[in-house]
Amino acid sequence: MKRLLLWIGLHAGLDDALVGDIVEDSGRSRSVFRACRQLFSAIAHRIALDVRAHVWLASRAIALGWMAQLGLGRVLSDTLLRSSYAWQVNLQAERWLDATLGFPVLPPIPLIAGGSVAILVGWLVSSFHRPYGVSMAACFLASLWFVGAGLTGTRGLPNWLPPASVAFQLAMSFCVLPALTMFGAFIGASSRDPNLERA
C-alpha cells in the first residue's frame, strides 16, 4: 500500500513531503479509503494548479491528444481488421462475448484497439509534457469527456440496444477508457527527472 501511494503520488508530480505525509497518515489511520481520499484530492489540487499556471501547455496537450487519438485509432483499427481472417476471428469472438454477457456489445478487436489506443495516447501526452505530464493528460481527458458528453447529449442514447448494452458502452467510454488513458499517463510521467524542474 505504501509503495503504491508513493508511486502514484510521485508520478502525479506531488511534492515529496506531501507524499511522505500521505504515507505517514495512511500508516496511522490504516484506512484505505482515507489514504485514497487524501491522495486523489492532492492530485486534483495539483492538476488544477498546473493547468491554471500553464494554459498554453494544456492547450497543446489537448491538441496532441486529439491528433493521437484520432490518428492512432484509425491506424490500429485498419491494421487489425485488414485481413479477412481477422474479420472472421472478430466475428466469432463477438458472438462468444455477446453470448457470455447475455447482451450485444462492441466487437472485441475494436474494444482491444480502443483500450490500447487509450493507453498509448495517455503515455504520449504525458511524455511530451513532463514534468506536468499527468496534469496535462487529465486536461486532455476532460476535453474527451466534454466532447463525449456533448455528443451523447445531442445524439441521445441508442434506443435500439438493450439497456445493458448501453450501460456497457457508457461504462467503456466514460470509465474504462479514461482510466486506461490515465494509466498510460502515469507510466509516461515517469518519476522525477532531476533536470526537469517544476515552475
Binding site: 513531503a17 511522505g20 505525509d21 504515507v23 505517514e24 484530492s41
Partner: protein, 110 residues
C-alpha cells in the same frame, strides 16, 4: 491588512502552524486544525495553502528528517515569518473590530 489579504483557510493554517511551533509540518497542522475546529482537512488543501503563504512571504520551509514510515520522504517543516506574525495580528485586529458591537445573534435574527 496588506493588499494581498489572507483567505480564511490560509489564516487557519497560519494559526495552526503558530500553535504547533517549530516542528509544524503538514500532518501536525492538519491535526491541530481538526482538534480545534472539529473539521477534518485534507493534506492537499494544507499544502496548497502553505504554498500560497510561502509565495506571500508569510512562512518558510525547512526540510526535516526522512523516515521509513514516510516512505523515505523528508518532512517539510513550516516556520511562520515575522511578516506572517504581523499579518496574523492584523487579521485579529480587523476581525475583533468587526465583531465588536455586533448584537448577539438570537434565533437567526441579526
Amino acid at each position: 491588512m496588506s493588499r494581498e489579504s489572507l483567505g480564511h483557510f490560509e489564516l487557519v493554517v497560519l494559526l495552526a502552524a503558530v500553535r504547533v511551533g517549530d516542528d509544524a509540518y503538514g500532518i501536525s497542522i492538519a491535526d491541530t486544525i481538526r482538534e480545534k475546529t472539529g473539521k477534518d482537512v485534507l493534506l492537499g488543501s494544507v499544502y496548497a495553502a502553505l504554498e500560497r503563504l510561502e509565495k506571500k512571504g508569510l512562512v518558510q520551509f525547512r526540510l526535516g528528517e526522512s523516515t521509513a514510515e514516510r516512505g523515505g520522504k523528508a518532512k517539510k517543516h513550516v516556520r511562520v515569518t515575522a511578516k506572517g506574525l504581523r499579518e496574523i495580528k492584523e487579521a485579529q485586529r480587523a476581525l475583533a473590530a468587526l465583531w465588536r458591537g455586533l448584537p448577539a445573534l438570537q434565533g437567526g435574527a441579526a
